[in-house]
């Protein structure tokens, strides 16, 4: 119990990406070796998609589900969309080659950022893949949670993340700013 509690609190404290608060800045390297900083994206809506190409929920979402086109479509409309893989070296879905292959296989037209230390994942309180974080053009967190209400396509089809991005890019109110994520644990 003591162990469980202290670990839980450690995560809770590290998670500083609260809805309505400034998004924690980070600098990570993508699979092409390019350095990406959140602070360089100011003025654009940013979407962070916690990613693990070995996770069945991610495989479904990118293979035939909503992420097949969603990220690439929003990217073409000026949204800065980044997949973030917080898997530790050697864990499922981690590693440069694995992620390069996934990017090609799923025709992802946006960068995959590697966060092997898990620092950014912890700062954003990411516990499962897929988890979506939407940050507005002023750098404020506006949505955090599940992609939708339909794990593996089973559900009512409410597209929480897409609704939030639509609202943020239109300067509107995010109706549901926080949902419970589902999926595989992030492989810290």
């Amino acid at each position: 119990m003591t162990l469980a509690l202290s670990l839980f609190l450690a995560v809770a404290h590290a998670d500083t990406a609260a809805i309505g608060a400034p998004a924690p800045d980070f600098t990570l390297t993508d699979t092409d070796g390019k350095s990406v900083s959140l602070s360089d994206q100011k003025g654009s809506t940013v979407v962070l998609e916690w990613f693990n190409p070995g996770c069945p929920f991610v495989k479904y979402a990118h293979g035939s589900g909503p992420l097949k086109d969603l990220g690439s479509t929003w990217s073409s409309k000026g949204v800065r969309w980044f997949a973030v893989n917080s898997g530790a070296p050697g864990k499922e879905g981690a590693g440069l080659e694995t992620n390069k292959q996934a990017k090609t296989a799923w025709s992802m037209k946006y960068p995959i950022l590697l966060d092997e230390s898990g620092k950014v994942g912890h700062e954003y309180g990411a516990t499962s893949t897929p988890t979506i974080v939407v940050i507005d053009s002023a750098g404020v967190v506006r949505y955090k949670g599940a992609l939708d209400d339909s794990p593996m396509g089973e559900g009512a089809g409410r597209a929480y993340a897409n609704d939030a991005i639509t609202a943020v890019t239109n300067g509107g109110k995010v109706e549901v700013p926080s949902t419970k994520s589902y999926g595989c644990s992030v492989k810290y």
Partner: protein, 224 residues
């Protein structure tokens, strides 16, 4: 009667689902019983910080459920908390009427990685084998008993560990709760103080010879 659902292309399925039946004090119970490979776990109704709730849907009978037995706590790398079951688990249904039943069940089974699985099961409720009854009654004993928060602090006789499992509604409303054993008492700490108004929590009370669960509501009679 027993249907094996291959969750992956391996020799041994990670999860095997079957229907178990029992008549207990005149009440017909149906259980969906999952046998889980060593080292793997499936999920409670609130899976925790990752995972997916196990689901079971019945057709052909009038039944109430699923009723989830109390879960175990799993700590994953990175401090990720999961609520679920290892080795085996049984989701229960109280059957009001009907005989021929079809069960559709989905689960996510995880270890280092996660694999979704599902099974379609059929049974008739006119036969109640003893072997199945044992599984049903064992699961019934692990279903949380509804209690009022005023039972805390609780005399900790035989109890050495207490763990809290928030309901989805409690968690979604931002309530937090911890339980601990100190000075022969199980103490529950809630934040905010009226957090249970947002939804109940389940407390697992465990000791060397004891394992039971209570579902804590703000007041008596707030149970259902």
């Amino acid at each position: 009667m027993i249907v094996v659902a291959g969750a992956m292309a391996a020799d041994v399925p990670l999860v095997t689902a079957s229907i178990v039946r029992a008549k207990v004090e005149g009440q017909t119970w149906l259980g969906v019983h999952y046998r889980i490979a060593d080292g793997w776990h499936i999920y409670w109704e609130n899976p925790g910080q990752s995972g997916l709730a196990t689901s079971a849907k019945l057709s052909g009978v009038d039944a109430k459920g699923p009723i989830f037995p109390g879960p175990e706590l799993f700590m994953l790398p990175g401090g990720i908390v999961n609520n679920g079951y290892e080795h085996d688990a049984t989701l229960l249904f109280r059957v009001r009427a009907g005989n021929s039943v079809h069960v559709s069940t989905h689960w996510l089974v995880c270890r280092d990685e996660c694999i979704p699985g599902s099974a379609e099961l059929d049974a008739s409720l006119d036969d109640f084998p003893k072997k199945e009854r044992r599984i049903v009654t064992r699961a019934m004993a692990l279903v949380p008993t509804p209690v009022a928060a005023s039972i805390f602090p609780l005399a900790a006789e035989g109890i050495t560990h207490a763990d809290v499992f928030p309901s989805l509604s409690f968690e979604a409303a931002g309530g937090t709760a911890t339980a601990g054993v100190a000075m022969d008492r199980v103490v529950l700490t809630l934040s905010p103080i009226d957090a249970l108004d947002r939804g109940p929590i389940v407390v697992r009370l465990a000791g060397p010879h004891e394992l039971r669960y209570v579902q804590v509501f703000p007041t008596v009679g707030g149970s259902e």
